[in-house]
């Protein structure tokens, strides 16, 4: 009923007053109409509030109300159940009788990346996985993680993940999709599968490999292709060239005294990086009375994490690394290899000679590692050098293929595209991956793809590839699926879900089962069946009970004894001849003498993490840039080409062009440009779309590591970049104290003598009481490689928000821990230092005295605590913090809207809101949990029982936390080390976090003091 209708009725005011007079007590009325109880009002009520009106009219009974309430409560409760997996999964360490609210459970599982697994233990709060930790039992983790594992939990809850099965962009149901697959099966059975193609990434999973093999048996003419943008073709072909067979190589850096990296970033990139970093750091800690450390030589053009740890770094172009390898091989007497004569090599021949002598002095105790972007010939040379140095079987071990079915992936993709273009492919099933985005432009994958009649894409996101496919099926995240995967040494571990698929995703197992004609098989059944039957050889020798094997493997997170057996391959006699004959990469040569080097992005990798805000905002290890990729050039090249940071350039290689901003990188090789993959996605999601520039567009399939002859032209535009560290020199301040091993041996106190410390000034404040637990931290700068794992771990643990590029540009990033990177020395070839800085928990904290409301104060255990509720946001504390570790919520940064992101948050850490200061707490929630536990058990907290998030994630165990009041604790011992020093101690802040000075171990032959 409209307003005008109501208005027509005349109200009888006298009658109304009469009515009100008759009432006693308080009588509320909504309007004069209601009061009048007119039929108009009745009908108005019905039309506006039909439900209430109905209830009112019917005179609902009390019983009915209770019934409705009960049902809605039950329904509300049911939504919680949706997150629990149906199948039985096993807790890792503690096995409470049932879920205790507020107590997290930990489950072991495995994170696959590029086909290889890394063992993780995932913290689960009431069925919600919230935090990823490393699995100490897993060989690729040893309890630590990398940035990708830490950030993977955010991808799980990413609201932009594909949530529905789509057909041509419209929502479809699974039944219709399986009908289509059945139809394909029926058609292909007639053709023996000649029109069926499967495209996967690298597969190491035994179950997946078994399923694929079964599929190829059912459809003998079908083909299985593998393609990863960051593939290992060069390594594989190199091994083939050297040994004549497929061999995978593992390094034992814990046994190596001398390490030579030929453009190899073994500390950061690759499936074994976390493990290698640990092994490497163990030989370098310089604590506990150690007087020796390993020595690292790095030959590279692109500054890398590994290069930043080098004792000697030879800065040459990537294309010249082969010359160095050849010179070394020749000097070591590798048969047939002649040194290359080039001005670069002769300029560095003294350096090379010293390295060779050092390697020879450490026969059987050295490692030569070759980077993936180097051509196969360098890999072959690397093998020959390792054999010549007697490293095989000692510091370098060989196994058969870890991959289930190793192929040359670029060739595999090329074959597929050829078939597609010629119309031989009726149905293409893409299981994961995003080839439409990341395949080399000369292969023209998209052109081929569009000729396929039925295109199916399984993926976490609706991305560039799914956009071109008929069917898109949401994929399960590894935290919601079953599976198995091998690690770098072949060790198999199971993947168990922590949560039921949030968006009804399907795993590749289930899609393959559908193709195999087993539509009802679940991933759980498939994986379990495989291990019951085909995989039984692994466990039959140990136990007859499958259940025992299964539960142990799930519990431990690894299947013990599945590392591949070691091999002792022999070098092919004529290997150098075959190297010279092999076509390999023939890097293009163009008009210019500038090379372009291709690298995966250090944070968003090949582009798969483009929609992960934590990784996008994570400062890249060396450039400290966020949210974009850039092209690195050396200061000298920048000068020559008159380029500045942020200048846009167009790069052209063999007719393929791409635009990118320039970033001047100290330590980069001259006449060389490094570009990073992963950015420039156009269908990544709300976070990733439109960030950075697509460098896949530049990479020719012929030159997947680097290409020569890139043409560079300035476009004249300037691009705004977001960098978290604008100043790179220490300005003569001793934030990172450093020296050489020789100096240390001569005078162990040199770091203190060099910079005479002022005697502690008298303080007006009483000294801090030292009783009970006193928490402290020591960070070993000899082990810290600057990999950023701690930064993401802290963000995940402490609910730190992502602020976005524009806010980072304004200097408002919210990381509680940052890795300061300082340069020292020559602009062209500086030394690089990493220094993690978080709140120092000063005993005499300058921030505390200036807070007008006492929102930051000191605990009796020495923690500088932040009381968010009390903070009014004057920012005085941050101004007065000499370490600048405080972070302020300038705006409402935390997302309060997106519900799936709420699931990720750590329930034990306050979610901060606008206008509040925050900072590192030493993970006070973990300290308190351990203290409660210890109190329950009537014992003191044990040393090592509390691990801060940064400490737990650290691949190199550089961060140690504990009770400094306990002289036996590890942290106390470290603080007693002679190399221990504090930052800005002359301000009498008495920081609780201290550092172990960084030593270098230069070769006296190269560097004379």
């Amino acid at each position: 009923m409209s307003d005008s209708d109501i208005k027509k009725t005349d109200l009888d005011f006298a009658a109304l007053r009469e009515r009100l007079r008759g009432e006693h007590g308080r009588e509320f009325w909504r309007s004069l109409d209601e009061l009048a109880d007119t039929p108009e009002f009745e009908s108005f009520l019905h039309s506006e509030f039909p439900r209430q009106a109905g209830v009112l009219g019917d005179g609902v009974s009390r019983r009915q109300v209770l019934k409705l309430m009960g049902a809605s409560l039950a329904l509300a409760g049911l939504t919680g159940c949706a997150y629990m997996p149906k199948e039985k999964i096993l807790p890792y360490v503690r096995q409470p009788e049932e879920l205790v609210p507020g107590k997290p459970l930990f489950y072991a599982t495995t994170m696959p990346l590029g086909g290889y697994g890394k063992g993780v233990v995932v913290e689960s709060h009431m069925g919600r996985p919230t935090k990823v930790e490393g699995n100490t039992l897993h060989p690729a983790s040893l309890g630590a993680t990398d940035v990708f594992a830490q950030a993977s939990v955010l991808t799980l809850y990413d609201p932009d993940r594909s949530q529905t099965l789509n057909h041509l962009g419209l929502i479809e149901i699974w039944a219709n999709f399986s009908a289509v697959i059945n139809q394909i099966r029926a058609e292909q059975q007639l053709k023996k599968g000649a029109g069926l193609r499967i495209l996967t990434g690298t597969i190491t999973s035994p179950t997946l490999a078994y399923q694929l093999q079964a599929l190829l048996t059912q459809f003998p003419m079908a083909k299985w292709h593998q393609y990863e943008p960051i593939h290992h073709d060069h390594t594989n072909i190199g091994a083939q060239l050297a040994f004549g067979e497929h061999v995978d190589t593992q390094y034992r850096f814990d046994q190596a005294e001398v390490i030579l990296s030929l453009d190899s970033d073994f500390l950061y990139a690759g499936p074994a990086a976390v493990r290698y970093a640990r092994d490497f750091a163990n030989k370098r800690r310089m604590v506990g009375g150690a007087t020796a450390m390993n020595r690292l030589y790095v030959v590279e053009g692109t500054p890398s994490i590994t290069g930043s740890m080098a004792d000697h770094r030879l800065r040459i172009r990537s294309s010249e690394v082969q010359g160095v390898a050849q010179a070394i091989a020749a000097r070591l007497g590798v048969p047939g290899v002649a040194p290359l004569t080039s001005p670069v090599i002769s300029a560095h021949s003294q350096w090379i000679g010293a390295v060779v002598r050092d390697l020879e002095r450490h026969r059987g105790a050295c490692v030569v590692s070759v980077g993936e972007q180097q051509p196969p010939s360098v890999h072959a040379l690397g093998h020959a050098i390792n054999l010549a140095l007697g490293n095989a079987g000692k510091t370098v071990t060989y196994t058969g293929a870890v991959e289930a079915h190793p192929v040359e992936q670029l060739e595999s993709l090329r074959d597929l595209v050829t078939d597609m273009k010629s119309g031989r492919v009726d149905a293409l099933v893409i299981l994961g991956g995003n080839p439409a985005f990341n395949s080399p432009p000369d292969i023209s994958f998209i052109e081929g793809l569009l000729k396929v009649k039925v295109r199916v894409h399984l993926g976490l996101y609706e991305d560039e590839t799914s956009n071109l496919c008929h069917w898109h099926i949401p994929e399960t995240h590894y935290l919601e699926s079953w599976g198995d995967v091998r690690s770098y040494d072949g060790t198999i571990s199971l993947i168990q879900p922590l949560i039921a698929p949030l968006f009804n995703g399907k795993s590749p197992h289930e899609i393959l089962a559908l193709l195999l004609g087993q539509p009802s098989a679940s991933a759980y059944q498939i994986v379990q069946e495989y291990w019951k039957n085909q995989g039984s050889a692994v466990w039959k020798s140990r136990t007859t009970n499958f259940k025992e094997f299964w539960e142990t493997s799930l519990h431990d997170g690894v299947i013990t004894g599945t590392a591949l057996p070691l091999k002792t391959p022999a070098l092919k006699k004529d290997f150098w001849e075959s190297v010279k004959k092999s076509p390999g990469d023939s890097p293009a040569s163009g008009s210019s003498d500038i090379e372009v080097v291709f690298r995966p992005d250090p944070t968003i990798w090949d582009g798969r993490f483009a929609n992960n805000g934590w990784l996008q905002e994570l400062p890249k290890p060396l450039s400290k840039l966020t949210w974009d990729n850039v092209a690195w050039i050396s200061p000298r090249t920048a000068e020559r080409l008159s380029l500045q940071n942020g200048n846009m350039v167009e790069l052209k290689v063999e007719g393929h062009a791409a635009k990118t901003p320039i970033w001047i990188m100290p330590g980069h090789a001259d006449d060389s440009i490094t570009v990073f993959f992963g950015y420039g996605r156009w269908l990544a999601g709300r976070v990733g779309s439109g960030t950075g520039f697509n460098m896949y567009a530049l990479r020719n399939s012929k030159s997947s590591g680097f290409a020569n002859g890139v043409a560079l032209s300035k476009t004249g535009e300037l691009f705004d970049l977001a960098c978290t560290q604008n100043h790179h020199s220490m300005e003569g301040r001793d934030f990172v104290r450093t020296g050489t091993l020789a100096e240390f041996r001569k005078n162990p106190r040199f770091i203190h003598d060099e910079i005479p410390e002022k005697s502690p000034l008298p303080s007006l404040y009483p000294s801090f009481p030292q009783n009970g637990y006193q928490w402290g931290m020591a960070i070993n700068l000899n082990s810290c490689i600057g990999c950023n794992a701690c930064v993401v771990a802290c963000q995940a643990e402490n609910n730190s928000p992502v602020v976005g590029k524009e806010q980072v540009q304004r200097g408002r990033e919210m990381h509680w821990i940052r890795i300061d990177r300082y340069y020292d020395g020559d602009l062209d070839a500086p030394q690089t230092f990493h220094e993690p800085v978080m709140c120092m928990q000063c005993e005499n904290a300058p921030c505390e005295v200036v807070c007008p409301v006492g929102a930051t104060n000191h605990s009796s255990e020495g923690l500088n605590q932040m009381v968010y509720n009390r903070c009014v946001g004057t920012r005085y504390c941050s101004n007065n913090c000499p370490y600048k570790v405080r972070r302020f919520n300038f705006l409402q940064y935390e997302d309060w809207q997106i519900s799936s992101l709420k699931l990720q948050r750590n329930p034990n850490v306050t979610v901060r809101s606008r206008g509040v200061m925050e900072k590192c707490t030493y993970c006070v929630q973990r300290i308190n949990a351990a203290k409660i536990q210890a109190e329950e058990e009537n014992r003191p907290v044990r040393d090592g029982e509390i691990q801060t998030a940064c400490q737990a994630a650290c691949p190199t165990q550089a961060i140690v936390f504990g009770n400094i009041n306990d002289p036996e604790s590890e942290v106390s011992k470290l603080k007693g080390e002679i190399l221990n020093y504090g930052l800005l101690t002359e301000l009498t802040t008495h920081p609780r976090t201290t550092y172990i000075a960084r030593l270098r171990n230069p070769n006296p032959e190269i560097e004379t003091e």
Binding site: N726, C851, L891, G915
Partner: protein, 468 residues
């Protein structure tokens, strides 16, 4: 020509008159009260007020945006956690110094020339304090919780942290604001009574009557009034020194190089008086022109103020010199770097402009001709205001942008919301000032009457006492 009482004051220069020739009690009263009582609002006033009010609306918009979105609309970041807001705060507080200094200290020192400018300067003080007080509240991350800075009894039994200079600020600034208001108001009472008596409209009679608090001008009234006024002056005097000393503690207590300096309290107080007098000059010169008050605010007044400006400018210059000297003399590496960066780094333009404005430009005031040239004086006073703003900008921003850890260094620039808030605060100041000029006698009538040469004056007392 000077009054007998004035002759007692030893002055080196030959006296210029403090009041124009030919005035008697009635004409003084007429001239000043006519500005308030005039029915016709001058067009220039309307134009000026419109501009000021428009700026005030800009302030409202900026504050609205700030409260709605957060302090992130400003340019502040880590490491520069304080920006324009705190610069403006210190600047306005500094300006607020002249009023009380002129009224209280010069009153106690029997400097009679203060009479024609004190009302005006006090009003300026009040409005400047209002502008200043706004910024610390707005710059809070959660401004709605500002009252947590006050020690009020609450059920949580939580008190402010008394070691924090910001708490001292709260007391210092609020005390100063309160005393300044009372001082100004008490000084106004006889004149409000005059306006009440001369007003022809009932409404204004009533309003001025209420604020005149029943002043009849009896001898008893005058006796009590003068005692109270003197006491208030005594009370206000230490505040002139204390407020800016406490404000300087905000910085001096911090450990940031460039802040942590024992010279700050006196140096800030001198700077405050310097900027305060500059602002009085900036405003009084055009006002005296537009309202034709050259006979009351004479060249002698301007000359005297210029001398104060010169003297305090020299103290400030000494402060700059000592700051630099100490950085090198003490040998602290951070302080040395900070001073070098100030002179040669990203903010060097600001530094050298501030030195020019605050040190070089005031030296022209040695020359009597320049002191007597009203418009040159006006330009100098504006330059000093600019210089003092830049001084605070350099202290607040540059020190924070280059403190201890080079990895965290980051340059700061304000956003357009920073600018809008600052311009808006000028709008608030001017709006209040225009209202003051129109509705309150801008020059103390009864005190000015005291300056009228006795021989010329009729025997009559104030208008109020005639009635009473």
């Amino acid at each position: 020509m000077s009054s007998p009482s004035f002759n007692q004051n030893p002055t080196p220069e030959p006296e210029a008159p403090l009041i124009g020739f030919g005035y008697n009690y009635a004409t003084v009263t007429d001239k000043i009260s006519a500005i308030v009582l005039s029915k016709r609002t001058p067009r220039t006033w309307l134009v000026g007020f419109a501009i000021a009010f428009a700026l005030l609306m800009v302030l409202m918009l900026a504050i609205g945006k700030l409260l709605f979105v957060g302090v992130g609309v400003w340019g502040i970041q880590i490491p520069v956690g304080w920006g324009w807001a705190i610069v403006n705060f210190v600047w306005w507080v500094g300006i607020a110094h002249a009023g009380t200094l002129i009224s209280a200290i010069l009153l106690l020192l029997h400097q009679e020339w203060r009479t024609s400018i004190n009302r005006f300067a006090e009003a300026m003080t009040l409005f400047a304090v209002a502008c200043a007080g706004m910024f610390p509240l707005l710059h809070l991350g959660r401004p709605w919780l500002f009252y947590w800075l006050f020690p009020y009894p609450n059920t949580m039994n939580v008190w402010p942290q008394f070691r924090s200079p910001l708490i001292w600020d709260v007391f210092a600034v609020s005390t100063y604001a309160t005393v300044s208001l009372i001082f100004w108001y008490v000084g106004l009472i006889p004149d409000l009574a005059t306006i009440r008596d001369r007003s022809k409209k009932t409404l204004s009679q009533k309003i001025y009557g209420i604020f005149a608090m029943g002043w009849r001008g009896s001898a008893k009234h005058w006796k009590r009034y003068e005692t109270a006024y003197l006491l208030l002056a005594g009370l206000a005097t230490p505040l002139v020194v204390s407020v800016h000393s406490v404000v300087s503690f905000d910085f001096a207590v911090g450990i940031v190089p460039g802040w942590h300096s024992a010279i700050f309290p006196p140096y800030f107080v001198a700077g405050a008086i310097f900027s305060g007098f500059a602002m009085v000059l900036t405003i009084s010169i055009p006002v005296r022109k537009f309202y034709g008050l050259e006979d009351f605010i004479t060249e002698r007044h301007l000359n005297n103020m210029a001398k104060v400006l010169l003297a305090t400018g020299l103290i400030v210059a000494y402060g700059y010199l000592m700051e630099t000297f100490m950085a090198f003399y003490a040998g602290g590496r951070f302080d040395k770097y900070m001073i070098m960066d100030r002179m040669t780094g990203h903010y060097m333009n600001f530094y050298w402009i501030l030195l020019t404005c605050n040190v070089v430009v005031p030296q022209f005031l040695w020359i009597p001709k320049i002191r007597n040239n009203v418009w040159v004086l006006w330009v100098i006073s504006i330059l000093v205001n600019v210089g003092m703003w830049l001084e605070r900008y350099v202290i607040v921003v540059q020190s924070l942008a280059r403190d201890f850890v080079p990895s965290s260094w980051r340059n700061y620039t304000g956003t357009h919301w920073d600018v809008a808030t600052f311009l808006g605060s000028i709008g608030l100041f001017l709006t209040l000032l225009f209202l003051f000029l129109r509705y309150v006698p801008m020059i103390s009538i009864f005190e000015l009457r005291g300056l009228v040469p006795k021989g010329d004056a009729p025997a009559a007392s104030t208008g109020a006492s005639q009635r009473g």
